[in-house]
Amino acid sequence: MMKKSVNSKPKESRDELLKLYREMLLIRRFEEKSGQLYGMGLIGGFCHLYIGQEAVVVGLEAIAEDGDKRITAYRDHGHMLACGMDPNGVMAELTGREGGFSKGKGGSMHMFSKEKNFFGGHGIVGAQVPIGAGIAFADKYRGNKNVTFTYFGDGAANQGQIYETFNMASLWKIPVIFVIENNQYAMGTSIKRGSSTPDLYTRGLAFGIKGEMVDGMDVLAVSKAGKKAADICRKGQGPYILEMKTYRYRGHSMSDPAKYRTREEVQQVRKQQDPIDSFRNKMLKWKIASEDEFKNIDRDIKKIINEASDFAQKSPEPDARELYTDVYL
């Protein structure tokens, strides 16, 4: 059962609400710019955009505490921006430059920040899930009260190692929140065609893990569910599963013939459920901010993105001597 989306005026402060909006918009504009740079040949290889799913990561980061950790797959730009990684460094990694978070050696799918407790950026579907549980295990081992947000997709949810991880995480009460970003598709395979049961939040039941379905297009609903899950984990009663119902507007990666769904389907979600537009409309209705204020935010974000784009193009390619560095410590 999907939790109702939040419609009454929320308890968050005006600043908190505007921050949520800003962060979502930052991701949206960043991804649009990435698509553009890809089209210009400045970004190569695989590049998976997060457009449409912004509320998930922004809602969860809003309730994360100092020392909490996060890990995800290859659709990772949003996660990095939301946990505070510098857009310049992220964009420069996309262009494969020295100023990137991995000095240009990781690319879109492989970025990390020890400082922000962002553990990647993983290209193998499902592989980040046991790793996420291991990061959370380390917090438990050290007796910390932190949690690890471990993100994966609806397609990844069918990988065997996820169930191996569910079992261990539940057995050892590991403080990990499994965040399933159900954007309805794994490349071209809709959830109906790939999953024997559609309710992914129930997939932990056999292991004694509670879960719930959340409207992942509603940033406030995401935050609320995230807070509850994190509290449970911090008390040593985790793990917990959050299935975020969301949607990706763009192709799976930049090269996607998009023949597995209709244009109308995409347009309909965009018009009726867009996480950014709907949140903005609510805030206007609640008289939290004016049109002008939103315009100012838009302008600020554009500036940040253009700076990032500039930086990512001006930062030099890594020195050839970097070829043999960082293989061993």
Partner: protein, 454 residues
């Protein structure tokens, strides 16, 4: 002011494309996200979206023309009120990028040389006889004593005291928090160990045998082995993957395989395969302290063998350093792990016919101590390599290449690689014996390299 829309590259390899269909016409209002056109490449037809709001001023290309190169202008779109005057929102107009030109190609730099540490001096040190099993156990216990971040996990390591009793007594000594029985979940617990390593713990992951690590090889190679590089040096994984490797006895194809060459292939992993108890102890302690992922290959048949082990409070052996087991002048025999056992026997037989062999135990397979091998071959001018693994792409193959490159003029005969046979391990006792590398074969190979008559 209109801005040019360029033909985008929609896939990693796209170089040209054509407009299969326009979804807009001149004068249309478009919003960011609207589909402008369908672009056809040799592989697929893909949609192309507007990236900002505006009015279509001009379409520069018609449908189904000849394919044009990526980054050719295809349309002009003017910004709407909101964005006009902010030229930074339009794509950089005059940029046409030729990837081949923008990527600077420099000469491939030299791979850095390994810095080798010397073995501890064992002058005036007393020794005690210990099995390899005991030595491994002591190594883990000493390191767990020394560093609270070290923990052991694996199937049957705790209550059962280890499937091969290598972790005997560790549970009593360190408790359930640090000696952890896992479910039969190789892929999962290996990934979990890797995560714990990223987060700063120092896991020792025991595989009941390395045959089962194949379930987890993605986590070992892709996650543990590559993340330091992919993170630009930020995220290391100090982890040891250990357990018995290679053939035991009569357990057939799925339970008898030597993974030495497999893991040695991977930059980012260190690979160790000790023979003696002293090296097993000293190298395991070094492996646990190493900030990199280390694959530590043991051998079930060797577990019960006794060797002299130095009685030192903290005996470590440097990773990456081969050991000259016995000096000799006629031929170099290079081996490691259980292969050393056959090699030593073969050397005794050779001695009986007057051949003085130099025996090198590689101990570490990656990084490989090439200098020690090359120096030896320059002295003896002949070489035979011995290992249990399959012949194709073996450690011996790699050594042969290195010797050919660096000591070609010193060689008096082609190198022979003695290996296991190129078949899955058979069960039948007689066939199993034939499949394994044998003392007779090593002696034969040595004679042949020495051009000795039968």
């Amino acid at each position: 002011m209109g801005s040019k829309i360029l033909l985008p590259a929609l896939s990693p390899t796209m170089e040209v494309g054509k407009i299969a269909k326009w979804f807009v016409k001149e004068g249309d209002n478009v919003a960011s996200g609207d589909i402008l056109a369908e672009i056809e490449t040799d592989k697929a037809i893909m949609e192309f979206e507007a990236i900002s709001d505006g009015i279509v001023e001009k379409l520069l290309v018609t449908e189904n023309e000849e394919p044009i190169p990526v980054n050719s202008p295809i349309a002009i779109i003017s910004g709407d009120d909101d964005t006009s005057g902010e030229e930074e929102t339009s794509p950089d107009e005059n940029v046409t990028i030729d990837l081949k030109e923008s990527t600077t190609v420099s000469a491939v730099p030299e791979a850095p040389a390994e810095k080798l540490e010397e073995d501890l001096s064992l002058e005036n040190v007393s020794f005690k006889s210990q099995t390899v099993r005991e030595a491994l156990r002591d190594a883990m216990a000493e390191e767990m004593e020394r560093d609270e971040l070290v923990f052991l996990m694996g199937e049957e390591v705790a209550e059962y005291q280890g499937a091969y009793k290598v972790s005997q007594g560790l549970l009593d000594q360190f408790g359930f928090e640090r000696v952890i029985d896992t479910p039969i979940t190789e892929h999962g617990f290996t990934g979990l160990g890797v995560g714990a390593g990223f987060a700063g713990l120092r896991p020792i992951v025991e595989f009941m045998t390395f045959n089962f690590a194949m379930q987890a090889i993605d986590q070992i190679i892709n996650s543990a082995g590559k993340t330091l590089y992919m993170s630009g040096g930020q995220m290391n994984c100090p982890i040891v993957f250990r357990g018995p490797n290679g053939a035991a006895a009569r357990v057939a194809a799925q339970h008898s395989q030597d993974y030495a060459a497999w893991y040695s292939h991977i930059p980012g992993l260190k690979v160790i395969q000790p023979f003696s108890a002293a090296d097993a102890k000293g190298l395991l302690k070094s492996a646990i302290r190493d900030p990199n992922p280390v694959v530590f290959l043991e051998n079930e048949i060797l577990y019960n063998r006794s060797f002299d082990v130095p009685e030192l409070d903290d005996y470590t052996v440097p990773i990456g350093k081969a050991k000259i087991w016995k000096e000799g002048k006629d031929i170099t025999l290079v081996s490691f792990g259980i292969g050393m056992s056959h090699t030593l026997e073969a050397a005794r037989e050779l001695e009986n016919i007057g051949v003085d062999a130099e025996i090198i135990d590689l101990r570490t397979l990656r990084p490989l101590d090439k200098e020690t091998v090359i120096e030896s071959v320059k002295k003896t001018n002949r070489c035979v390599t011995i290992e249990e693994g399959f012949p194709v792409c073996s450690i011996g193959n790699h050594l042969s290449y290195l010797i050919m490159q660096e000591a070609f003029d010193w060689l008096d005969a082609p190198i022979i690689c003695c290996t296991g046979k190129d078949v899955p391990m058979p069960y039948a006792a007689n066939l199993e014996k034939l499949a394994l590398v044998s003392v007779t074969e090593i002696v034969q190979a040595a004679k042949s390299v020495l051009y000795l008559e039968e």
